[in-house]
Amino acid sequence: MGVQEVKIVHGETGDEAYVSEEAAEAYAELGWTLADDGSSEEAQDVADHPIETQVEATKKKTTKEG
């Protein structure tokens, strides 16, 4: 099982990234905040199954968005 990751967003640049919860706390000092879009679960799926889950996650997102 991979590291539990959460999605963070940089307030100024809008850059997004997936990092460990521990790292997210450290990045908070540098203008990064937790993304509030429920993507952490998706990030964990990606960490556990890097290739196939990314495909599934993309499909799921596409379906949700229609």
Binding site: T13, V19, A26, Y27
Partner: protein, 162 residues
Amino acid sequence: MARIIPNENTWIGFTPTAITDQKPTVAQIAGAVDLTGYCISLNASARGNTVPTPAFDSLFETSTAGTSAATFDADFYRDDAVGLTGDIAWKTLYRGARGTFIISRFGRPGTGSNMPIAGDIVEVWTVMITSRTMANMSSNTVLTFTASCSVNIEPNEAYTVA
């Protein structure tokens, strides 16, 4: 002109974003974790292959340019500092972490900070951490670890920050 050493001239940052165009902005650099004070050594090197192309009509063995590859690994200190930013190198460079190292080798003496600003030349390495290995534990030795990385995108070894 003067020869310089890395100490007090270098700045090493790591941002969790894969900067695919290898052109970090000043804001992206400001959002990077400053690992300069944790880094002991850093090996960011590219290596090209030459392909031999000998022919019967000559005793001289010619060659042509082949592929190139790069490796990236670095040694960092562990840190017992408490708080969110304590032991930050270990926290941010975990196995599987993706991101971009931004390295400035020529600082700005007297300015109080070597963090790159517009006009500075930096190296940009987008990587994924493949291992985070503690050094052997031995008496009277500082705790350190090695981060080894795959290099996911062709590095930019001379980008002028805009």
